[in-house]
Subunit: 207 residues, 2 copies
């Protein structure tokens, strides 16, 4: 009988091992990956071009639950953007420790580019000029990624102690347990962002 | 002569070694720290209570360049919040890989609590009720931390290739090199957030 054969090495299996390392240690190196997979580093290069490509495979996994809204030019732009923000945050919230690795590398995966294309087309259709489209996408990106980290925050994000002043104490007293608190704050933020974006757009006389 | 004596172990030296590990690998464990410092793990516990406390020491370092505006009740609340956002982002942008570690643990350091107290008092003075104060602080936190990650992003955050549609291509064509692009987008976002917050506050009839 003997022991079962080791599973075949593949890009998918390499990405899975890299994701496990990121989730537990915050990062990965190619030698660490080889050790975990019990292969030589050179074997990995038969399946992936290098660390850069592995990071893009991890980005695809983080994006894997992003479902983009149907392309409907009659739908209000703010609704389309809000939907993308929700699905994007939910998908990335599964891998908080991956986020700084992804933001440190240029996006080069199809699924991610598709999402940015939809955001750009939607903001453009809404009347933002190209420079503001780039700024608005960056705003959405930064807020969503920060909010994805908040999903992984502890139930009580601040220790209440002697140093907490009355205004902060009153605010903390209103928070429900997670995930309700994080979800509620995220929806508040979506509303604020969309109202602010609409105001900025009108102010620039582009309608 | 002999070799110079090893520097004395201290909480500060432990935090420095932990920060180096986080910056290079994305995380740290107590055994790793002991190995780097060439001491036994038990020696570390003479200076710090454990991993939790080391993380708070790292939070103090990330906060160390946050300079809070002087307490002036006559200054517009939006100006105070914008100043805090700028200094908070700049301070955290130095340590992008630390951010998911900090958000995963409850805040328990004095400097951070002081900042949250000022934010809470400012939003409260502006007329937000306690529940909205908590939501507004969470919004500021998420946007600032996501923007701090954007500071570490590459010059070209998106690879431009065949998959880039016309709206995204036009937007990407407007971006200046880093850090100007990230700074410009961050200021745009501050403007959007503050206008949106003002609109939400007025709409709730609390003035």
């Amino acid at each position: 009988m003997g022991r079962p054969p080791a599973p075949l090495l593949s890009a998918d299996r390499i990405a899975g091992a890299a994701m496990d390392l990121v989730n537990t240690t915050g990062g990965f190196t190619v030698p660490e990956l080889a050790r975990v997979l019990k292969v030589r580093p050179s074997s990995l290069y038969n399946h992936v071009a290098g660390r850069r490509q592995i990071i893009e495979l991890l980005r695809e996994r983080a994006m894997s639950e992003v479902t983009l809204p149907a392309d409907d030019p009659d739908r209000p732009w703010a609704d389309v953007v809000a939907d993308i923000m929700r699905t994007y945050r939910q998908s990335y919230a599964r891998y908080p420790r991956l986020i700084p690795l992804l933001t440190a590398h240029a996006v080069n995966s199809d699924h991610a580019l598709t999402m940015y294309n939809v955001l750009a087309a939607t903001f453009s259709r809404a009347g933002f000029d190209p420079a503001d489209v780039l700024r608005a996408i960056t705003l959405v990106d930064s807020y969503v990624l920060g909010s994805a980290l908040d999903v992984a925050a502890p139930d009580e994000p601040w220790h209440t102690g002697a140093e907490v002043g009355p205004a902060l104490a009153a605010a903390l007293g209103t928070g429900s347990p997670k995930p309700a608190r994080a979800d509620d704050a995220f929806e508040f933020g979506i509303g604020v962002l969309l109202r602010g974006l609409a105001a900025v757009r009108s102010a620039s006389d582009r309608d």
